[in-house]
Amino acid sequence: MGERSLVDWLRPSANLKRELEAALIAVLFAVAIGSVLMLIAGKAPGYVWSQMLIRTFSDSYWTGQLLYKATGLALTGLAVALALDAGLFNIGAEGQLTAGVLACAVIGTSLPESTPAILAIPLCLAGAAAAGGLVGGVIGVLRVTRDAHEVITSIMLNAIVAGLALYAGNTVLFKGGTTTGAPIVEGARLPQLGFGGSSASVAIVIAILAIALVWWLRSSTTIGQAWRAVGRDPDAARSVGIDVAKVRIFAMVGSGALAGIAAANFVLGHKHAFEEGLGRGTGLLGISVALLGRTHPAGVAIAALLLGFLSSGGLAVADIVPKELIEMLQGVVVLAVACAGPYVRRKAVA
């Protein structure tokens, strides 16, 4: 289903200017739609947009919230981008992140109280990556062995993981009558960055390292070449001896692991416990980040900051316009970038 078209859409245009043009058109379109919606809601768009900028950058709390949102989005965006590079549409980052949050929190609470940070943090991260990678791997295996479309299996697994996490919370983890679990040990907590008491933490370093790692893998290693070759043209990749099935499964495991690691931002850096709905929406929004970033790690970083700005800015001006307006815009961005890509390419060919 749709394999060829997805690959067509993703074919790198080998032209940075064209990629930037597509992203710019998409952003401008989203701003235009957003402005229309604000008018419908009876607000002056110029006032709302300027308040969003002013509040975000003059109040260090909102600047920190931007960084907090962007950290999670960069990791889930990178996860979706990696899978897209390999020709797979992983919209299961949401479930993979939830699995990561659960694993991260369970490991964080069950470690001995005196565990030093140098041991506790890597253990929590490894657990989160493994849990996310496992969910991603299931999607990859079903695609490769059963030809089950990853979009449908991803959605089913998102619902299943969310339900299982809630069940685990209600039966074992939540403290009597609440939707919060026991706190993780001191050593597993990532230091806060300050920013007026915002949720931003050192997790941002993990996101930056992940971006650097994927960038290096995809541009300078044979592994990266293999996964992008499979994404561009599976038949051609097969004919030069690449094990397409293996690459697809590993791409999904890697993608799931990245989404799982985003748990660090929420559990280790912010809440320090398992909580119902923690990080919700970050996986879904990662799709927007990956598409807007044109699947390149640098693009993903910029897109994460941009959508992070929309997310935190939307909350900063929630007293002026309903925050649902901004949630809707995040979908508009995806639609716009999906349309702008082929448009820019056709224009270049003509």
Binding site: W9, V151, Y167, V332
Partner: protein, 288 residues
């Protein structure tokens, strides 16, 4: 156990099955014409909201049905414009529309009713299935669509657009036209399915489609893109759901969080066992 399978149970099964089945039939004919239909979720959700808005403002549940169908058609219009005219990737367009529907219906809820999660109570068909026109629509569609696909010009051209678009070009028909006619009918059916979600409970609830569009699409694939068979597969999912509700009522000790996962687990199992390509997909699905 014997007191579980009563007429009331059958009515409940039908009530639950109708949104799934209408979405699946809508999706089946859209995909048969060659357009990937991941936007089923968006059509259900906007359909559900529009049904509430129309029923609320007119005081008639029948107007709600019309509203739901119009919303399904409108979403389909955007989907077709992006994927046929602008040639955007059809999978991504579908996912994007679903995200827009999630935020968009909540935005409208806030804008029109100043509510975060629920619309006001609206006139509804309630639990009675015999007087519910959407139920009739689902049964009629299940009988008429297989016939229309092989016996009408609409159906023949639709299938040609999905399997051999070149053959249409040779007789002077642009493949996009039958695709548009197929998808708009499909959108109206799916929108009616959304209306059923609202009009069977008497109000709209944020995210009330809850993944049904995706499950319906999985059933379409399982049924080999045959609309009536897809509707039957959806009845299977609905049976599991209705049975589940009975179990919860009689409290046999299965935790509710897990019981709610049954449709998702079933769909996943079906895909894992039967495979994703059960039967042949339309040859030019997703290609222009």
């Amino acid at each position: 156990m014997s007191d579980v399978f009563t007429l009331a149970f059958l009515a409940q099964l039908i009530r639950i099955a109708v949104p799934y089945a209408l979405a699946a039939m809508g999706g089946a004919i859209t995909e048969r014409s060659g357009v990937i239909d991941l936007a089923l979720e968006a059509k259900l959700l906007f359909g559900a909201f529009a049904a509430a808005a129309f029923a609320h403002s007119t005081g008639s549940a029948y107007a709600g049905v019309a509203g739901g169908m119009m919303a399904g058609v409108a979403v389909t219009g955007v989907q077709l414009f992006c994927s046929l005219r602008l040639r955007a990737d059809q999978v991504i367009v579908g996912v994007a529309l679903n995200v827009i529907a999630l935020g968009g219906t909540r935005f409208l809820l806030q804008l029109i009713y100043h509510e975060g999660a629920n619309s006001p109570q609206v006139p509804a068909f309630g639990h009675d299935v015999v007087t519910n026109p959407i139920v009739w629509l689902a049964f009629i569609a299940a009988v008429a669509l297989p016939f229309a696909l092989v016996r009408t010009r609409w159906g023949l051209r639709l299938r040609a657009a999905g399997d051999r678009p070149d053959s249409l070009v040779t007789v002077g028909v642009a493949p996009s036209n039958p695709r548009i006619y197929a998808a708009l009918v499909g959108g109206a059916l799916t929108g009616a399915g959304g209306a059923q979600l609202t009009l069977s409970v008497g109000g709209f609830v944020a995210d009330m489609s809850g993944g049904r569009g995706y499950i319906a699409l999985a059933m379409v694939i399982l049924a080999g893109w045959r609309p009536a068979l897809a509707a039957v597969a959806c009845a299977g999912i609905a049976f599991a759901e209705a049975f589940n509700i009975q179990l919860q009522v009689s409290d046999v000790g299965i935790p509710n969080e897990l019981a709610q996962l049954v449709p998702y687990v079933l769909t996943l199992l079906v895909l894992a066992i039967a495979g994703g390509k059960h039967g042949k997909p339309p040859r030019s699905l997703g290609k222009l």
